[in-house]
Amino acid sequence: MTMRWFYYAAPQTFYGLAGRLWPWLAALALALTLAGLWVGFALAPADAQQGEGYRIIFVHVPASWMSMVIYLAMAFWAVLGLTFNTRLSGMMTRALAPTGAIFAFLSLWTGALWGKPMWGAWWVWDARLTSELVLFFLYLGYIALTSAIDDVRRADRAGALIAIVGAINVPIIYFSVKWWNTLHQGASVSITRSPSMAQMMLWGMLLMALAMWVYTLAIVCYRVRTLIIERERHTDWVKALPEVAGVKA
């Protein structure tokens, strides 16, 4: 089993594996998105307090979860990269960062659009919102730092430090609504109000969360292949790839 993991951790084998996986993951993500939107917009009823406005939840909560999960995944690969010095780790960390940044931004954007009608404010400096903003800046900092350093290995190591140190912020975001008295409520939607309503709202949200999970896996598989080609382009196996050699007339 251990051997198997290291086998797939070799860029050459992972390139093939990710290439076989991403089309299926992309198709599954699309199917889950359509199902989630159908449940969220066609089946789920209006909320007792927030009317139709609560439907922002179907992107807000999944995007926020993903922004935290992706950062933890980056920290995981960063630790692997620093301890085992595997080539794939740095590429995985970098492949994850843009998607994480997008989800962090979407969390803030959809949160603002939800806050305005419900709280009367686009933004407040409370613990939940501020720590999510810090997460967004951590993503931007990671991307800026790694792209500013030319030496790939050094850039990976510097980025790994941001990924690991910044991971402290993730539990802070998660528990902020408990630790501090925040405007951001723990559960704004009354899930217990009526059983049927609860189920459809919850299902819509869970389907969208699953869709974003699978989307992330798909785009990361896709993006890591680009990074593998760029970094391994002087090796014989990349030069022999059909998509490289085949098109050459």
């Binding site: 917009f41 209006a46 139709e52 439907r55 922002i56 992107v59 785009i219 680009t226 990349v238 490289v244």
Partner: protein
């Protein structure tokens, strides 16, 4: 189905701007991300091909 008409659907009980502003931005950014990833992949392949034709013309 919860909506009588399409305009009902877009109106979203008065929250249309907020709900569709959220959904729209999500769709836009994810589509841009996909397009960017696709372009970057093609650029990487083109780079390898270019370097290869320099090595053995």
């Amino acid at each position: 189905m919860r909506w009588e008409t399409w305009s009902d659907f877009w109106f979203m009980g008065g929250y249309g701007l907020y709900v569709w502003g959220s959904m729209g931005m999500t769709a836009l950014l994810l589509l841009l991300e996909i397009a960017q990833a696709h372009l970057a992949h093609r650029r990487a392949l083109a780079l390898v091909r270019a370097e290869q034709s320099l090595e053995n013309p």
